[in-house]
């Protein structure tokens, strides 16, 4: 598993570095929320899921979509607004979808995906299917009523939902301690009787173990599990964020725990990775990005005559 974790984190990192560059060139517009610094969460958690499972994510979901199997070209084409995008150019960066891979977005209302995850879990129980619904959300969502209503429903009905909270400490620019009377997120989840535990979100192996533990319990029919992944966003909230709310020193401090280089260093120290192997993975990621850019560039614009499609089925 070791090299795939690293390869996956590099794929997300290289894709998003390119996204930032393309944003600067005006190829990508709207809001663009980068996951840089948090890649270990998606890279560790996604391999704990199986093909039939459901995934619900947030507006910072490029990495989740990619590791769920959405082709990088389709993701980038979506950000370009091209019809070859994974949402046909109707969604953009915040609304990546892939029905075939059971990737349910891409939700830009904080907490908006949690009740949907509950419903997907309920459908699986009613249809007697064995599936896990993995619901990713940020710590900002725990202030929403949707979080509390969803935790209560999922626990009350013992639904197969893994609530995977990516705590990057800031809801946009508002620090957790400035917005929550109770900053222990697991205590909130545990108050519903839900199994809740924390994991180091900067350590891809720790994330994977926690996600496996959560999914095993959910899959065994023991009801929902809540996991708090403690992580950190290295970049601005979006491309419009001057980052007035946090010290540069704090960012630098967290960067020393960067998920890619810390994991790389660990693999090298154990003799499981050479510098040449690392460079090879990085080159592969860069090549995939180059192909994705070419795919997006070659994409086409949906004719304006089709504007009113996809509002309703008829």
């Amino acid at each position: 598993m070791s090299v795939p974790f690293l390869a996956d984190m590099l794929r997300i990192r290289r894709l998003e570095e390119k996204c930032a560059e393309l944003y600067g060139e005006g190829k990508i517009r709207g809001f663009l929320h980068l996951y840089i610094g948090e890649e270990a969460v998606a890279a560790g958690a996604m391999p704990a899921l199986e093909a039939q499972d459901n995934v619900v994510a947030t507006y910072r979901e490029h990495g989740h979509a990619l590791l769920r199997g959405v082709p990088m070209g389709a993701i980038l084409a979506e950000m370009y607004g091209k019809r070859e995008g994974c949402s046909g150019g109707r969604g953009g960066s915040m609304h990546l979808f892939d029905a075939q891979r059971r990737f349910y977005g891409g939700n830009a209302i904080v907490g908006g995906g949690l009740p949907i995850a509950v419903g997907l879990g309920l459908a699986d129980v009613l249809a007697k299917r064995s599936r896990v619904t993995a619901c990713f959300f940020g710590e900002g969502a725990v202030a929403e009523g949707a979080f509390h209503e969803s935790m209560n429903l999922a626990q009350l009905w013992r639904l197969p939902v893994a609530f995977l909270c990516e705590n990057n400490l800031y809801a946009m620019g508002t620090a957790l301690a400035r917005s929550e009377s109770q900053t222990d997120l697991c205590a909130k989840a545990a108050s519903y009787g839900t199994t809740a535990f924390k994991a180091d979100g900067m350590d891809v192996v720790a994330v994977h173990e926690a996600a496996q533990r959560a999914c095993a319990q959910v899959r065994a029919g023991q009801g929902p599990v809540f996991v708090e992944f403690q992580t950190y966003r290295f970049r601005a909230h979006s491309m419009f964020d001057p980052e007035l709310y946090r010290d540069k020193a704090e960012v630098e401090q967290w960067k020393t725990r960067g998920p890619i280089h810390s994991y790389t260093a660990r693999l090298k120290a154990k003799g499981e990775l050479t510098e040449e192997q690392f460079l090879e993975l990085d080159r592969a990621a860069l090549a995939e990005v180059a192909e994705a850019v070419a795919f997006a560039e070659a994409g086409t614009w949906e004719p304006v005559a089709e504007l009113t499609r996809h509002v309703s089925a008829a």
Binding site: R90, I116, V118, L120, A127, N152, L153, S312, A313
Partner: protein
Amino acid sequence: MTITYREALRQGLREALAGDARVFLMGEDVGKYGGTYAVSKGLLEEFGPERVRDTPLSELGFVGAGVGAALGGMRPIVEVMTVNFSLLALDQIVNNAALLRHMSGGQLSVPLVIRSCSGAGRQLAAQHSHSLEGWYAHIPGIKVLAPATVEDAHGMLGAALADPDPVIVFEYPALFETKGELSSAKVDIASSKVRRRGSKVTLITYGACLPKAMTAAEEVDGEVIDLRVLRPLDMGPVLESVRKTRRAVVVDENWRSGSLAAEVMARLMEQGFYDLDAPVARVCSEEVPVPYARHLEEAALPQPEKIVAAVKGLFA
């Protein structure tokens, strides 16, 4: 067979649950209590707690769960006790149910049915009596239904469940005791219908105002159109009627400003202006929260005599 509007709703639910294993009903007090207005009485015993599912008071949570269950292949019927309470779930209705098909480029379908009571007339005061159909009818991506007859109360649910997109069905407590014939004929959820023939004026209405418009029509020789489907609106029968009567009054329990009536009037201006011999008039609710005291509540709502007065105003 003659039954009440309430019994027709229950019969529609029973047939939906019996006819498709994917259908389930959830909402506050739909099970053990039997439904706030006794619509779902007996269904828990008949179909069990998995399929007639009591929820906590979590409108946002359980409406959103309905969205998710619909995405997961089920056919959920979610009951929200009143339209006032539906405001707690507005995020899931507007930001998810109505948008997911479009945001996903047509990949996702949300075959969700939401049932909710609308309208006043039972002295339930301001937080249980409002009429917000026009708000919901504003939103692309959802269908809005207003059954006003026993036939529609019974038949619209099945049609709504067969629709691949989210449908909101407003039910009218003011009509629960009205009676009509139960028929097995399928009803459509695409058309407005003429409920009474007349020659002097077209009265356009829906929901709880239908019987009031019918009463007024007796006095003024009015033709009554029941809109039935508030989104998408079917203006065909309205325009056809106005070509004949050359006058129209819209009767709508919404508040006047920004009402559904305003939309109907705008469309009449756009599509039927040259058929009119007088400005289109409307009878809406007064711009006040619905009061508790009976005489004030009655004064706040459209009434047959207000409709008659509005019609007479067109001939003045």
